[in-house]
């Protein structure tokens, strides 16, 4: 169920009763404006009805009120209300979007959208003119998904701005947009965007069906929608990707993903998605492929480090000391000599301290932000080691784990790694590497059982899809990636570019002179 529409309530010919009904429904709020106009010579009586805080005042004055008042007295032959409606629509009202209304509930919905309702005495029809306004943030640089090379634009909270950012990137008539309204109170606009013939029809239908099933009073951010429509209710792993980068969204759409843009948030959802997508950055496609591949491999390593390093440290120092070379073992033992806690307690204390610092860093006012780093680095790091509460090795482990976590491009996947880390630490402390290995097996089984809108989450690792490997661990040059990813894109339209585009050394043309030989001569 999308919008909670009320019953039909026809617009009456009696203008004051219509105005009174709308006024009462809106609770006689102070920001309601009812601007009347009349023409005594023709008997015209009408109102502009709008909510001041939602409209663009300039549009109303210049495009609605001004032209309408100019017509008053200029058309003595126009007598009936229906003729006036026709005249206003075809001549006076100079706005792009104008909608005919016959129902008061619909008129109310249009008012809530920021539109202006024009009603006339004696007419059962009214009009809604598009006058939505209000302050909105300009397009700025992305705050959470920054790149060195690549577009510096970010989505904003305004759905129309976001749509224009996408439309400007994909100028194809096959780009399809379906608008929905979700939330009985907030009536939030949601746009489903996909490429016809590239997105799988089944996925598009499934997205629509899941969105239509949402029955809630409010959608304030795309996170609400994500929780309603994701495949698995109980999992650490996100099965829907989110981005604030228009280029990333466009890239996803061009590979067959369906974008869900929610009014009021710059974070756009993309589905279906596989696990590896969360370790890819849009910059991978803007940088040269060699460095992009290297960075991608670093990210895979960082993901495992951020999930496993503390638990491996605990397991090896507690259960499998024989794995360490003797000098390192002696050094670690010497460091831990004065520490009163077992490795697991030491690690938990440090990890929780770091999480507290991190949370404080996010919540604290920016001006006192640097204080956090001083407190973290000096008081809780150096001082704790000097006081003998934790070993220096543990500080290194926790710090490196924390830094590795920031390497993961998708914050929701980084959060998953953060949570899994604690479980792994407990497993490592109780069962050593056997516990960690068992935990990893459970994770792998769980991930293998996940699907995102019908697509296996672990693809292309398993099920093994060899053609997709051009863009998994490595990123091959663009000319080598002739086809779209098989798991996500429609099988009927996989080819995205022509073959044989590998750059070659140009053959020497006849008129070109051999500069070298000439200079020698």
């Amino acid at each position: 169920m999308g919008v909670q529409q009320g019953t039909k309530l026809p617009i009456s010919e009696h203008l004051p009763s219509n105005v009174k009904w709308l006024y009462d429904e809106l609770g006689a709020s102070s920001d309601i404006v009812v601007r009347t106009f009349s023409d005594s010579s023709t008997g015209l009586d009408g109102v502009f009805f709008y909510i001041d805080s939602l409209v663009d005042q300039q549009t109303i004055n210049q495009m609605l009120i001004g032209p309408v008042l100019a017509e008053i007295g200029a058309n003595p032959n126009v007598k009936s209300a229906s003729d006036w409606i026709g005249l206003l629509k075809n001549k006076a009202l100079s706005v792009g979007r104008l909608k005919d209304l016959h129902d008061l509930n619909e008129a109310l919905a249009q008012l809530m959208e920021g539109n202006t309702v024009i009603m006339l005495q004696g007419s059962r029809a009214a009009m809604a003119a598009s006058t939505a306004g209000g302050e909105k943030r300009s397009v700025e640089e992305p705050s959470s998904q920054t790149v060195i090379r690549g577009p510096k634009e970010s989505f904003t909270e305004n759905i129309n701005t976001n749509m224009s950012l996408l439309r400007r990137r994909i100028k194809s008539p096959k780009l399809r947009v379906v608008y929905k309204q979700i939330g009985s109170q907030t009536k939030t606009h949601v746009a489903v965007v996909y490429m016809k013939d590239i997105a799988k029809d089944g996925v598009v239908q499934e997205v629509m069906a899941r969105l239509d099933r949402i029955d809630t009073d409010a959608i304030l951010e795309s996170g609400y929608i994500e929780e309603f429509i994701q495949d698995a209710a109980f999992t650490f792993f996100p099965t829907i990707y989110n981005t604030e980068r228009p280029d990333a969204a466009a890239g996803g759409i061009l590979e067959g993903q369906v974008a869900i843009i929610v009014d009021g948030t710059p974070f756009v959802l993309l589905a279906p998605v596989t696990f590896i997508r969360f370790l890819q950055s849009s910059e991978d496609y803007y940088q040269r492929y060699d460095i992009a591949t290297f960075l991608r491999l670093i990210r895979y390593v960082a993901f495992f480090v951020s999930m496993l390093l503390p638990s491996l440290y605990i397991a090896i120092t507690t259960f499998h000391q024989e794995m360490l070379p003797t000098p390192l073992l002696i050094s670690l033992a010497a460091q831990r000599e004065g520490v009163p806690f077992p490795a697991i307690i030491e690690a938990l204390v440090m990890e929780i301290t770091f999480e507290v610092l991190r949370e404080a860093g996010v919540r604290m006012p920016r001006v006192i932000g640097p204080a956090i780093s001083i407190v973290g680095a000096l008081v809780l790091g150096q001082a704790a080691v000097q006081a003998g509460l934790v070993s220096a090795a543990m500080v290194i482990v926790v710090s490196f784990t924390a830094i590795a976590n920031f390497v993961i491009p998708a914050i929701n996947m980084a959060s998953a790694a953060r949570l899994i880390r604690f479980i792994m630490m407990i497993l490592g402390a109780t069962l050593g590497l056997f516990g960690i290995m068992s935990g990893l097996m459970v994770l792998l089984i769980h991930m293998s059982s996940l699907r995102s809108f019908g697509v296996a989450y672990t693809a292309p690792f398993s099920p093994f899809i060899w053609p997709n490997w051009k863009d998994v661990l490595v990123r091959l040059p663009h000319w080598a990636m002739k086809k779209r990813p098989i798991a996500v894109s429609s099988m009927s339209n996989l080819t995205r570019q022509g073959s044989g585009q590998m750059p070659e050394k140009p053959k020497k043309l006849g008129h070109e002179r051999d500069e070298t030989r000439e200079s020698d001569e």
């Binding site: 794995m323 960690i436 990893l440």
Partner: protein
């Protein structure tokens, strides 16, 4: 989702090959080198090759049996349609018993190995409990998920397997393989028996086949799975001989892990622990496959609809059987050396052979009836 709903629980040919490898190799690589090298000395690799030839014959037999099995129909249902309910019940109960017994043996092998190699003080119940818990969690998700996990685990374990051989380069002595052919044929055949027993575990193909998306490729799947398994086993045996010579491995409980223990570089020691844990992930899959066999036979024979509770019940049963059937490691070792191979062969080769004969006879008699009509 029921296992019988084929369109959902469907595995690809490649996944089936990998599952077959996981069904055979994890315990084979642990147990067979000691027995095979103990009997055939430096010619143990010939024993593995002989066993591989037998394994290929088994695969031909299994693929012949399921040639008439319609896609999507579980093997025992197919047997029931041809040989009747009584025969199916007997076969199903025998197979369920075999899979459960073997499952307990595998769990006990895992426990013994981990207790012996790395977790010296951890109670056996805890090790077994965790292993069974993970395997049950996996098996509950169905064959499709197990197959997907199998691909990832196979990728990692193959890389580690070859890295481990590469790291052993300094310790490999080719001279240990000479003189070639010193062992008598009797010894070589004697050394091949355990491997033949393990290769016969490929009979799980009979139960797995209806879930494979490419029914026509079952024989190829079986042959590839068998050949890959034989290759890994062959490499394991050869490496054990090259590192320790023809005499020592026969006296070791687990020569495969002892080989990994010899890896020693200045910056890292006891790399065997890593290899042990990568091996452990493969044995989880083997346990899953035998869980699948046990529950599948049980459900088909007793026509049980809900499978999840039975995974848990059989998990507990297999764990307790594994813990308390063999009083000591020596008992387990004796069972592996003498009893397990005849048991495996009777259930994986003898029983299917009888079934094949019966299916052939019924097919013939049906054909005659049709001709008469």
């Amino acid at each position: 989702m029921s296992q019988e709903q084929i369109p959902y629980q469907q595995i690809s040919a490649f996944q089936a090959v990998i599952l077959l490898v996981h069904t055979i190799t994890p315990t084979a690589m642990l147990v067979i080198p000691s027995i095979a090298i103990g009997r055939a000395g430096q010619d143990a690799w010939m024993s593995i090759l002989a066993a591989w030839a037998c394994g290929m014959v088994f695969i031909l037999m299994y693929s012949r049996m399921i040639r008439d099995n319609p896609a999507g129909v579980p093997f025992l249902k197919f047997v029931e349609s041809r040989l009747g309910r009584v025969v199916t019940t007997i076969v199903g109960v025998l197979l369920a018993h075999y899979y459960l017994s073997t499952l307990s043996g595998i769990i006990r092998e895992l426990i013994e190995f981990l207790s012996d190699a790395v977790l010296l003080r951890t109670p056996m119940l805890v090790i077994g409990g965790v292993a069974v818990g993970v395997a049950v969690y996996s098996a509950i998700h169905g064959l499709e998920v197990v197959a997907r996990v199998g691909i990832v685990v196979f990728g990692f374990s193959v890389v580690l397997f070859f890295v481990h051989i590469f790291l052993l380069v300094d310790h490999l002595h080719l001279k240990y393989l000479a003189p070639i052919g010193e062992a008598s044929v009797n010894h070589i055949i004697g050394g091949s028996f355990p491997a033949i027993g393990w290769f016969s575990e490929s009979s799980l193909l009979l139960l797995m086949a209806p879930y494979v998306s490419r029914q026509a490729a079952i024989r190829t799947i079986g042959l590839w799975g068998m050949s890959l398994s034989a290759m890994f086993l062959l490499l394991t045996v050869i490496v054990a001989i090259l590192v320790f010579g023809p005499s020592l491995p026969g006296m070791m409980a687990y020569p495969t892990s002892s080989v990994a223990e010899t890896i020693d570089y200045d910056f890292v020691e006891r790399m065997d622990v890593l290899f042990i844990f990568s091996w452990m992930s493969t044995i989880y899959l083997k346990i899953c496959m035998f869980f699948f066999g046990t529950v599948h036979c049980f459900r088909t024979v007793f026509r049980v609809q809900n499978r999840k509770p039975f995974y848990i019940a059989f998990g507990v049963l297999a764990l307790l059987t594994g813990l308390y059937t063999w009083e000591s490691t020596a008992d387990l070792s004796e069972y592996q050396r003498y009893a397990i191979v005849p048991f495996k062969l009777s259930m994986n080769v003898g029983l299917p052979f009888l079934l094949l004969l019966a299916l052939w006879i019924t097919k013939k008699s049906r054909g005659r009836e049709v001709d008469k009509r």
